[in-house]
Symmetry: C2
Subunit: 412 residues, 2 copies
């Protein structure tokens, strides 16, 4: 790819993101839905202006998710995240176990061998924290208790999902993984997050004081980015996910005295890369491979439909595992629905290992696409409704104070 | 390259840029000098932490120059640029003619065939507007009359240089270019800039009014970027250079009512990509191929030294072609000295065409490296001196007003 080609691709991506983002906002939907739809329009199912599998665009989009999760971490209050930690863990565990069992069941019922069924089940487990966090942020709802549970659960289920991926991959390759090996993998992934937050919290204030002594331009900006990139890279090395390292870096830096400044400085750069990710998610959708009118693709459409149903039902039920707090469980369940890149990574690994056929890859893609596109409008309806109900309640109770209250409650 | 690999490479690049940028500032030099030196340390002559010829890093660095020139355009007052236009054009023409003649002369004197000598001469013609503009900006001197002449001349000599490249390449390939073909190429390149500025100035205010009606987040930011990318791409298509299109886009948008806001919004993203370019310039420097102690590389070291001398002398003399205004000609001459990417592109084309040997490529690289590293500290000495002299003069003349004057004169 030449630099001219890259500029053209970025032009197409930004134009699609902003044009369809604008349309989405005008019909009252989150902008991210428009960005993904814009991706379908310019991608392999549409005008084919960009190739979603181009190595460079793919790297830039991954940099986008890393920066998005760093930014989300910077906007998250770690204390509140920990205070809802119990609810998050139960939602995550239920949200991995239920869809995995149901997806495997669908595979077995349809007569697929058990290793295929396991892959199908595993692909349903991990919520795309990037998509959900972006929707909550677009709707101005990132700081609510429900959102904290969703964020925490999405991080935990990413870790569980990655361990599960290693297990089913080994099983598919005919290897036997001992319980000890699985426990070690799981311990490393969880241990990394805990260590990153503990050691990071000790080091970060020193880092911030050291930056204050530098004369070079944009020292805070670059040092923060380097902190995030380092933790992301270490997370990957420890068998966890890049985005979990970036999120942990954001959590840690948010608690330093320059947290607000860092968020402000990283904001513009993150927003340059983030639409690349969401447009590419849409651009990779191949509608033709799932045409229900075509006899050759119909069976995969039906498998995809069944997977979608259990994927949605599993996470909705998992939302009710958020015990112990007066939370709107349905919001949590819906927030956990979107499967994104992780589901596709599972399908890709299955395809490469020769366990999944390209037809079944399409079924997983249909599940990813539908769950991703269903959650944003559903969340919007519920969040608008819940705000209106609360406003009405407050209005009945305290009359004139309402205006000030709802202003205060409205996140920035 | 995986995303982990990209994060590691960016970590190395940012760390080198900021560490050596900080050191440069502490010894009173422009940060860009530190960034290039940091590139040598982590590049092929040093620790080899990054590969400067990696396709993805190369694309990101080119995006950096495009954004840098867009930003420089946004900070430039088109009226002042045009008011010194005569001086710019004469500096550019002299600054292409003198080094080309002298470089060709060096080649012929050393007994190289004429097509080789022409390539060596042509590689000396084009100033790296990116490096010079960055140095002037680092030193807070971008808005002086001398800087306007340098910027204008650097844009014009890039156009002249690109036409010259086409001519010597055709000559090297044994093709005959008619005067008409050369005139057409030149007309297209110049015509593009004029048309881009005229049509852009008509369209830009409508664009800005249209953006004001959008609801989607960061509409101004993305529309401005798309405007810059479009002009850059069109410039390339018209036979001009990408960076000239980006510069023209900045000039045009700077004159709209949102010019200041656009500059502010583009700033952070540009500063993410820009260090990648300067670190890669340093990382590509291969000191071993020019070792004067080694009998095999000594002749190329000597050719490189002679080329450097005529490259510096040619541009210094060209500075004195800035007639008709009370300008510090020596500052203009020194500002024109750095050859960067364009000189290397010439050498690369010559190498690919089989006209230059890899030894002579090294000679051109030595010229590029030396001119690039010599100009920043020289400019700094002169600009500090000129400011002190002016302050002294003002102090003698008007006593107490001095403080306010020098504050006002100090660019932001």
């Amino acid at each position: 790819m030449t630099i001219s080609g890259l500029l053209l691709a970025l032009l197409a991506i930004f134009a699609a993101a902003k044009l369809f983002g604008e349309l989405a906002e005008r019909i009252g939907q989150p902008a991210v839905l428009g960005e993904m739809f814009g991706g379908i329009v310019i991608g392999i199912s549409g005008l084919r202006l960009i190739d979603p599998h181009n190595a460079i665009l793919h790297l830039l989009s991954q940099l986008g998710v890393v920066l998005l999760l760093f930014l989300i971490g910077l906007e998250t209050d770690m204390k509140r995240l920990i205070s809802v930690g119990g609810a998050s863990v139960s939602v995550a565990v239920a949200g991995v176990a239920l869809p995995f069992a149901a997806g495997t069941g669908v595979g077995l019922l349809l007569g697929y061998p058990s290793n295929v069924a396991f892959f199908l089940g595993a692909a349903l487990t991990a919520t795309s924290v990037g998509i959900t966090a972006r929707v909550l942020s677009d709707l101005g709802h990132l700081k609510s208790d429900e959102s904290q549970v969703i964020l925490g659960a999405a991080v935990v289920d990413d870790i569980l999902g990655l361990v599960l991926l290693a297990v089913v991959s080994a099983a598919a390759a005919g290897e036997k993984l001992t319980t000890l090996a699985i426990a070690k993998m799981f311990g490393l992934a969880v241990g990394f997050v805990v260590l990153a937050i503990v050691i990071g919290s000790i080091l970060a204030p020193h880092l911030i004081r050291w930056i204050a002594r530098l004369r070079v331009a944009k020292a805070l900006f670059f040092t923060s980015l380097m902190f995030a990139f380092t933790l992301a890279w270490l997370a990957d090395l420890a068998g966890s996910a890049l985005i979990i390292g970036a999120f942990a870096a954001g959590l840690v830096l948010a608690r330093t005295e320059r947290g607000g400044d860092i968020e402000h400085e990283v904001h513009d750069v993150a927003h340059f890369f983030v639409p690349i990710f969401f447009v590419l998610v849409g651009a990779a959708v191949d509608l033709r491979s799932l045409n229900p009118m075509n006899a050759a693709t119909r069976p995969f459409f039906i498998v995809g439909l069944l997977l979608t149903i259990v994927a949605i039902a599993g996470k909705l039920l998992a939302g009710y595992a958020a015990f112990g707090r007066p939370l709107r469980k349905i919001i949590i369940g819906i927030g956990m629905i979107p499967r994104g890149e992780v589901g596709l990574i599972f399908a890709q690994v299955g395809l490469t290992a020769g366990v999944l056929t390209s037809g079944l890859y399409g079924s997983v893609a249909l599940m990813v696409m539908t769950t991703t596109f269903v959650a944003p409008p559903a969340l919007r309806i519920l969040l608008t409704k819940s705000r209106r109900e609360r406003d009405d309640r407050e209005s009945a109770l305290c009359g004139v104070v309402t205006e000030a209250m709802s202003d205060r409650d409205r996140p920035d």
